[in-house]
Every structure is written in structure tokens, then in C-alpha cells.
Symmetry: C2
Subunit: 360 residues, 2 copies
Amino acid sequence: MTPIAPGATIGILGGGQLGRMLSQAAANLGYRCHIYCPEAEPPAGQVAAGVTTAAYEDAAALDAFAAAVDVVTYEFENVPARAVERLAGHRPVHPNAGALAVAQDRLVEKRFARDIGAGTAPFAPIDSPADLAEAIAGIGLPAVLKTRRFGYDGKGQVLLRQAEAGEAAWRQLGASPAILEGFVDFAMEISVIAARGSDGAIAAYPPIENRHVDHILDRSLVPAPIPPALADQATEVAGRMLEALDYVGVLAVELFVVGDAVWVNEIAPRVHNSGHWSIEGAETSQFEQHIRAICGLPLGSTALRGQAEMHNLIGDAASRWPELLREPGAHLHLYGKSEIRPGRKMGHVTYVRPPADGDG
Amino acid sequence: MTPIAPGATIGILGGGQLGRMLSQAAANLGYRCHIYCPEAEPPAGQVAAGVTTAAYEDAAALDAFAAAVDVVTYEFENVPARAVERLAGHRPVHPNAGALAVAQDRLVEKRFARDIGAGTAPFAPIDSPADLAEAIAGIGLPAVLKTRRFGYDGKGQVLLRQAEAGEAAWRQLGASPAILEGFVDFAMEISVIAARGSDGAIAAYPPIENRHVDHILDRSLVPAPIPPALADQATEVAGRMLEALDYVGVLAVELFVVGDAVWVNEIAPRVHNSGHWSIEGAETSQFEQHIRAICGLPLGSTALRGQAEMHNLIGDAASRWPELLREPGAHLHLYGKSEIRPGRKMGHVTYVRPPADGDG
């Protein structure tokens, strides 16, 4: 692939904080960014050269967007597949539509993980109350019933403890195609952020420990305190996925540590909240890495600058900014969202402890 | 001063790479930026929430700009004083007009340096050929004749080796108010980047060694390899200047190392090319530091992350980007300028060697 040279314009579907940090990283390398999203005044638009405000179903707006950019990427996996297909008729789109399709459907995702030889929780497709009863009998309880599509941050899922509550749970989720997953009594949640370049090169950051509160990521710590064999196993899973998907860009793989194995929970075909620490904590941030990959540039070093820790600022926590600015070593990031809402990701703060501190 | 809270809009006069990197740093903290400059398609506009394209003499445009922003700063010292005065009638402007006036006139600047007790080359004001003859007799040759105003990157100055060439040199510079400075046989050129907050707190980075080629900064290295006593002397000069000017923001002081003393060469009331390494090389970049100061936030840590080196990419050197992207540890910055011109600053690259490497 001929590189897309600095000066070119990168089109980004979605205008949230991920698009914002992608735009900032792209600007460091001399690229312009053009944001496409239906919402007015997207946070990413504040740092981008261009913004299109239009629906993902607006064919004319999509075509005009494609004409205005040199390459297309996206910041969230629920972008409609038809929009991506339309854009791909005009311009390269990374990651590709196949990767997006896998990430958009929890059943396809789990089957994909199994197919590349990765462990997962036991799972079964659910299209009816009868399916559910059968799956509960096979998998056991507790188990988690999840919609196949459009779930995030714990939305679209219900924990089942009793078989008789199953049908109500399925109706609560809209009686739509679902998946039942065995409840995983994990020791730790981790993620691997890995990238594949257009030349096939793969580079991964060390696995990250993730701690959630109310199903939303609260803290990420890197490197995750796990044995090297487990870290290798997790990194290999991410690498096999990148190759199987013929992927270009950054991929996030969330996994559970279960005994001496890692099980795939889900994947995100994009930069990921659990990789934000890389802005200060790694030689190359996940955002620059993604830009490098989709523009056909060589991948950058994923070496750590130290032990890093990222705390999300959710809702009111963002009002802690005055104290965070006084704290030495706290690297504050606010996303330019005008309205604070409960559960809304408003910013994050990163701490990096240099390896020279004695325990590197 | 009540802090200007994240979410507010920062107005920046000037749309070049300094405004661009200021905008990026401001966005990290959740601010919007609005660029004001006469040139179309400014590099800073690619990463800013708003752009006004208008002359610095356009009163209506200045008033509308003031109404759209919460605080005003600038990225270059040759912004017309009247524009700053007009804006200051509506909104806080940092650094203040007094600091700008000192930096805009080499004679006022040198007298200011002398008044706060700093060393300088011998100098004399030149308003006529007679002044020049007298000054040459007093200061000796070689000496440098400089216009008092609008000089940068070696422009507006002539090296004088023979007294009889003086009048021609003065006419070559437009027969405008000038200054004659004794030629300084320096051991090293250094700079101090220091900031003063609205609370009066001062924070300086360690002195930086600067190497010029054709009067344009080529490389900066930090910490400058000078004895601690000299570093202290240089840092104290910057601190006295910040206090004397009642300054808020980042100030750059360029100095010559002459024997066991430092002499002030010039000051820039803004972020400075010799501080670009701080993006990766310091806990807080000079750009974030300036934003913190002008918004009334506490200053950040100026601690180094290692030994840092910044190489400017001037003109054609920017076409080295493919090789720089392959180089581990090279942090590439390109400024989004569409046209490469000789002598034009197109980007820079920063290397940081961790202190753990053995010689920190």
C-alpha cells in the first residue's frame, strides 16, 4: 500500500472523545481530520479541520464526505454497516467491514474467538424462550443473557440467577436475537491493545488490567500484574485475531483471566478506553498507532515509559479538575463535553511512574 | 483571579505552529480555541474550534472575536499593539501589553534587561549615521546593526566589520530606528522557558542549549551542558523578568554564555521553538503550561522525563518523514503546512533519552 502522506485528510465516523484523541494524534503527524456524525457540536469537531453533521443513512452526505477525505476510519463499532459499505466503494476504510461485522454481533464474535482457538465462556445463541431454557440447562446458572447487537458499558445484558426468570429477561431485552453466556468467575479483567499495519506487521502493548464500576471502566493499570505466560497467551490471541481478520488499525481485545487461561470477552475494532494511558505512558500512543496503521505508515514502538495508571472521570468526577491540576504527575484530559451527565465519560487522568523508581 | 474553567474558549492571535500546539494542549484540558489571523487556512485552524480570518487592524472583527472568547493570548510578538489594546478593553489578554511592548523593540528590550540587572552585549540606539559612527567608536567592531522592530530569524540585521560600511548597512535596513550591539563571542546559546501563573508562582524548565544554522534554530538540547551556577544565573534572570513585567504565561529568554556569565540576547513573550521538546520531554509541556497560566490554573511540573533533543524540520527536511517514522524513539511533529518553502519551519522531531540510561 502506498502510504497516505501527511497533509491528507482522514475521515472519522463518530465525534466523541475517541475521535477527538484520534484527531489530535493525526494532527501531530500533519494530517487533517474530518468528523462525520449525526450529533451537533461533537467533541471531536473542536479539534478537527472539518465536520459533517448528518445521519449515517444519508447517502448524499456520505458520498460528499468520501469525496472530501483520503481514508476513512471510525471510533465506535455500532456504525451502520451500510454506511461503511457505501464509503468503502469510494475510499479505503480501516478496519475493514468484516472486522466490524464480527464486533457488532456478540454471537459472531464469540464464534470467531473460538474459531481462532481462543477460550471463551460457554455460550449459546438464543432466538426463543425454548432456546433459552435449553441453553440454561446446558450452560448452568448463573449466566448472562445479552443482546447480540448494540450493547456497551453493561447495557443490553441481564444476569440470570434463576431459570424461571429467563423468559422475562429475554422480553426485557426486546425479545431480540440474544446470546447466553456462562457467568465467568474471573480473577481479573484484562485487555490487549494491538495494531496491525498495512504491511502485516503487528505491535501490541503489554496487557492492561481493567477495573470496572457499575459496568463502566473505572481504572486501567499497565502492565497488568499477571504471569508472563498469561500475558503471552493474551497477546497471541490478539495477534491471531488481527491476522484472521486481515485487520489494519488498532484492535482492543477484552479478556478474563480464569485460572491459568485467558478467555475472550469481547473485541472492539478501534482505539479503546483501556488504552488512554498510552498518550503519556508509551512511546507511541494508541491513537498515533491507529493513524499510522490506517495511513500505511510503519507502526511505532509500543514500549512503556513506566508503570501507568488511568482513571476515568465519569459524570461529576470531572468536577475534580481543580484538584487534579494541582496534583504533580496527574495528566488531566477533559473531552470538551458541555453537559455533565451521570455515567457520561467526561475525561480521564493518567499517572506514569518511571521504571527507575525501583520496581520496573 | 477566578480560574477560567475548562469548556471556556481561548482566543489566540496568530495561526501558525505555535497556535496549533497551544490549541492541542488547550483541548487536552477541555478548552476550545478560536484562532484570529489574516492568513487563510492557518495551520492552527485545523485543530481549533473556531477561526476568524481578518486583519489585525479590523476593529469590528476584533470586537466580534473578543465577544466569542473568554481570554486572549498570542503566538507571536509582532502582533500590532493597537489590536492587543482593543482586545484588552473587552477581555483579559496574557501576556500583558507591557510585556509585548518590551519584546517588540530591541532597544527597550536591552534596556529592560539591563534594568533588572542582567548582562547584555554593549548596545547603543541608532537614529542617524552620526549615532552609528559614535556607537562604533564606543562599542568597537565587529558589531551587529539591528532594526529595533520586526526582526526574527536573523532578518533585519547586518554584521558590521568595517566602520565605513555602517551607513550603507543602516540604509539597507531602511534607515529606521536601530540598535548597534557589540558582537558577542559566545561559548553557547541557551534559552530559559519560564512561566508565571496569575498567583505569582514561577516555574522554569532547565536551561536549553540552542544551535542555529543560517540564523534559524536547528537543534535544542536539554538540559544544556553548563555548570549549575550558570544555569541558576539564567533561571534567575528569567524569574526577575517575569516579576518585573507582572507577567502571566510562558516567557522565553534567549541568552549567550560568555565566560562565567550569561548575557540576555532577546526575549519572546510566548511559547518558543526551543521549548518544543517539552511535549514529550517534560511532565508538562510549555504549551499546557501557557494555557494553565493564562486561564488562572496552577502551573504544572517542569520536571524532565529524560535528556531531550529537538531537531527542527526546515523546508525540504520535512520530506524525511518516512524515515523518521521508522526510527524508534523519534517523535515526529508536522505542522500541516501545505507548501514547503526554503527556510520554512515545517515540523520538528523530538528524542528523549530516559535518565535511567546511566548519565542522568
